[in-house]
Assembly symmetry: C2
Homo-oligomer: 331 residues x 2
């Protein structure tokens, strides 16, 4: 018998602060950035780019953190586990999560690399160039997990990115095991196509045995099974985990559960401004509905709504601005 | 001839961090708090209450700051001037404003009182007990104003609370004068009824000569003119400043401009959770519309929408949560 969980969802992932500024193309050239790409950078580069960026906007980020902020915005009970340092950006991360309704009680590291940052340069053509310094976030290991939180959550949601480091990978396994022993469920997002290429064997084994709910987009799921066609990937994944939520961008999503296939349409937005975090928010909507025992169709619908609520503005924060609300009321 | 302003609105006020926790009634008794009231506390009391509070949520607050966050959420160009210290809550305030799209470049104090805080205890009956420690915010003086920002803003928006200290009052006068010399307009909110009682003569003089746009609720405007009836207050204020926006809670608002009276209805919400900052957000909607040259009826409508978007959830942040969005889509 399991007791009533304190949390609907706990997320574990790379804790990053998004630092965003608007710059012209000369900035891209001057700092030798790769426009439109996400690249990993070291601490020398982070200092160089950070100090050169103009008016900076800083907010908590990271894929799983975005998802948990979404769960909280739906009214779900949300917690997050990740690693930041005891520096100013670490304080920003912690306060920001709290102000968005997500419990984040992981102790901040007293030494080692600085809080992880994703330096995002937005150019006048609305392209985002992302430069990620993992910093303290990549130091997450099994010792940093609060397993009581994991045992108390209906679903433990994990980033595929964790597999990029052995310590974080070990943390993943410890958390998933604790969740299952407590009678809870484990969800995994494959994170991105390159991440799938790096860890295909691990992910294939997890889908077959260690994961209840899988989130992947078209690129990730076709790479996982090394097939060209989305429908072939659907056929491959069916029956392997309890539920697979496969997103197809503007073409909506499908939820595969046993023999059933639930087709979910996208929720239209007047203008797509920035698709960053669309997948993170889709997972938020699905997991909120799922932990409230809604039908899979309704879970998918909430996923679509949450994704729509983040792609209409810049940044990874869910929710409607007052400008979007006025637009919604006037149409 | 004036150049095109950089900002639509700049706000000047007491920069506070809202610190919120949910506590039971025993907490109120144990710390001798006055339930439902807003009281000013000193630094000993702030330490006592702050450290006793449980899971705390911290976000930028203060009346004028709330308004400017609303202006930014509409898509307006917003700046804020206020005083915080170089402590952790000061960093929270600055980062929070930036992440919400408000330019806040006031230097942080290197010495003196800590960053101002409003410790908000929410009891199970949904009552809010507010304990305000003004701290660094009350040290704002004329030397801390960036007058270029004031000159570059279409409207300078000022809190009545500034009149509680001579230095801040002097800052008010310097800012208003700079705005007018640059051909801009000045808006004032009377802040609260007690504030009106303390500074009635100053406010009466300002409405007659120093303010273009006045914001007041029923309590404030009737106290200002020492009348019992709202309509009497309307008759008194008419013709004294360019525009008076008078809010009447659930009864909507009226905008008085010369001989014209614009009646504005409230924008309904499914459930009123917390009316804090409703007036701040009404001002945001009005000022956004006003600086975009909308009709006064449309300015009032945006004010009502913005107020509705903050009273449906806890806290002073505008915008719709995903839960509210789903509700809106389903009705």
């Amino acid at each position: 018998m399991t007791t009533r969980p304190t949390y609907d969802v706990v997320g574990i992932g790379n804790a990053l602060v998004d630092v965003l500024s608007h710059e012209d193309h000369a900035f891209i050239d001057a700092h030798d950035l790769t426009k439109g790409a996400m690249v990993l950078i070291d601490d020398d580069r982070v200092d160089e780019i950070y100090s050169a960026m103009g008016h900076r906007t800083e907010m908590s980020g990271g894929s799983a953190a975005n998802t948990l902020v979404g769960v909280a915005s739906f009214g779900g009970r949300a917690a997050y586990i990740g690693r930041v340092r005891d520096d100013e950006l670490g304080a920003v991360f912690a306060h920001d999560m709290a102000s968005l309704g997500v419990d984040f009680d992981s102790p901040r590291a007293g030494e080692g690399p600085a809080t992880g940052q994703c330096l995002i340069v937005v150019t006048p053509d609305a392209q985002r160039t992302m430069n990620t310094y993992l910093g303290a976030s990549s130091q997450l290991g099994p010792d940093h997990l609060d397993l009581d939180v994991v045992r108390d959550a209906k679903v433990t949601f994990l980033e595929g990115y964790l597999f990029d480091r052995d310590e974080a990978k070990a943390a993943y396994r410890v958390a998933a095991e604790a969740a299952h022993e407590a009678g809870r469920e484990v969800a995994l997002t494959l994170s991105d196509g390159f991440c799938v290429e790096r860890h295909r064997d691990d992910f294939l084994a997890l889908v077959d045995g260690g994961v209840d709910i899988l989130f992947a987009n078209t690129d990730e799921i076709t790479r996982l099974y090394e097939v060209d066609d989305f429908e072939d990937a659907v056929a491959k994944v069916r029956g392997r985990c309890k539920i697979a939520c496969l997103t197809k961008g503007r073409h909506g999503s499908v939820i595969i559960a046993g023999d059933a296939t639930h087709e979910i349409t996208v929720h239209q937005v007047p203008r797509v401004v920035d698709t960053t975090a669309a997948g993170d928010l889709y997972a938020a909507g699905f997991l909120y509905g799922y932990t409230q025992d809604m039908s899979l169709d309704q879970c998918g619908r909430l996923g679509s709504i949450a994704a729509a609520a983040v792609i209409g503005h810049t940044g990874a924060r869910p929710g409607l601005s007052l400008a979007q609300l006025v637009h919604l009321l006037d149409t």
